[in-house]
Amino acid sequence: MDIKASVDGKNIPNLEDYRVQSPLFNFTLPENNILDLPPQTTQAVSDGNWVFLMPLSEGNHTVSFNGSLRNVSNIETNDSGYAFAVPYGWDNNVIYHLTISDSNNGANNSLFSFNQQKTDAQNMPGSKNKTHGDGNSNNGLYLLSESIENRLEKASAILELTSKLPDMEHTSSFSSPFNLSINGIPLYADMEKRQIAKQLLSKYSEDLVSVLFLMPNGTVYMLEPFERQLNLTTSDLSFRDYYKGVINTRDPFLGNVITSASSGLKQAQLAVPIYDSKDNNTLSLKGILAAGLNFETFNEMLQKYISLTNQEEKRIVLVDGNGVKVADSNRGLSSKNESFANLQGFRNAIDGQSGSITETINDTKMIISYHPINAVSNSWTILLIQHKGDAADAAAAAADPIANFSLDNTDLPKQKQ
């Protein structure tokens, strides 16, 4: 067996480590399917070596791969004459010349197909399919999702503009006194950057709760408020998803929810690259600017949505790409760690769909309305949860208002910053 894969001419090593067997899954064959079988829904398991690339940076890239077996000539068929499975890449070279383009085009496609649900939306790239349920509910979710997307885009724009300030990209700024015992530079070193951070937190307090400067290798340079910097247990944050995301894509990247071990508070970091303005051609990375998002603003947006739409008996949550809760319309539960990863509604939304589905949670039938959110580089989701409105659930609904419904605690990564 020989397996190879590369990106931009650089081989991906240790491909043997990416051998994966799937769980049992359903699939549906349409007319004129590639197996030449009658249309049907059936089940299968799969086994193979895969590559799962994180997002590539904008621009042109080449991805190539090849998988071969030397005894390929010995392939036999079974009794029905069908060669086993589909050995994709069976001693064939596959080369993709890629253009990674601004996702705004994709977003426009999504919006278009969302509003054109009577068309064959399921076959349109970037479409948001509607499973079932009442359109009014999801139109409301659509508007809410736009508001949240705008909020995230605003925070991203603030950070991007800030990253272009001369004081941010000045190389010598990163040579200020560095002290491992305080996890970065002292309080009164490189005052220009600290002052910028303070101004950001003061002016955009609704959006940002902390500002972080990382060096290109992921080491903390400065964190504001300074008390948070002192509380860090490590100054190496190169393992964080937002750091890796920015390094990989060279674009703004929104990380998923983590819990600070020092404060116990949930947080998500939005990060942007800092470039050397004198070196536009090669995009030399001078550092990374990141900010902790203010979850309270999202809590308030969800509460306002419930209140304005007169749906107090329902609960709406914003969850990250892992299904972990970011914000909650229920103020009493907003700080509680919860995961909604097992809800089919969440999974549908991660698949780009918008709709409603009935699911049984804690032995109670609930209607989950879901809608995806283009969260900068990430995919977040809003979930509207309500008791199913039939007679059998009426008593349960009365005894246990959905606004107080709660899932088990989740074990979020207990990591600093």
């Binding site: 067996m1 480590d17 590639i34 086993f84 994709y88 253009t99 601004d102 290109p216």
Partner: protein, 151 residues
């Protein structure tokens, strides 16, 4: 059942080789959550238009699903598309965007010959593709009765 046919014998040999490789990796205590390579631009800030590409680890849970679940989604996607617009039968990339509606983009390999494809992917999309893969289904092997037979 699937395991009686020749290709699966080959598959078992591959599995033995891979399991040996995995043992060697475990012995070396290699268990990165994310594996990065080509890190030419991370240490000193001097990038030269080289990207640092990161792949998801086989035990990770990207975008709310396990890696293994994403491979199942890849098959669901690949088989959902009729042959005349199926990207696996496309030698130029014309159909690379067909049914790419989720948070992850899927690339197929090819059938029986080399392929060079042009494709535009929205920024921010991770990409999943197989190097060597196979599946076993009740549709193709109606005599199989349960998941154990499929495996």
């Amino acid at each position: 059942m699937c395991s009686k046919i020749m290709q699966n014998n080959a598959r078992n040999i591959i599995r033995g080789i891979i399991e040996l490789a995995l043992l060697l990796c475990l012995a070396a205590n290699l268990e990165p959550q994310l594996f990065s390579f080509a890190q030419s631009s991370t240490n000193n800030g001097n990038s030269h238009n080289e990207t640092t590409t990161v792949v998801f680890d086989a035990n990770s849970n990207p975008y709310g699903f396990t890696f293994a679940e994403w491979t199942a989604k890849w098959w669901q996607w690949a088989y959902s598309i009729p042959k005349d617009t199926n990207p696996a039968y496309d030698d130029t990339g014309t159909y690379c965007a067909v049914n790419q509606k989720g948070s992850v983009w899927f690339f197929p390999g090819s059938y029986g010959h080399d392929a060079v494809r042009q494709c535009t992917v929205p920024s921010g999309k991770p990409i999943l593709f197989p190097i060597l893969n196979s599946e076993c289904s009740f549709a193709e092997f109606p005599n199989l009765k349960n998941e154990g037979h499929l495996r």
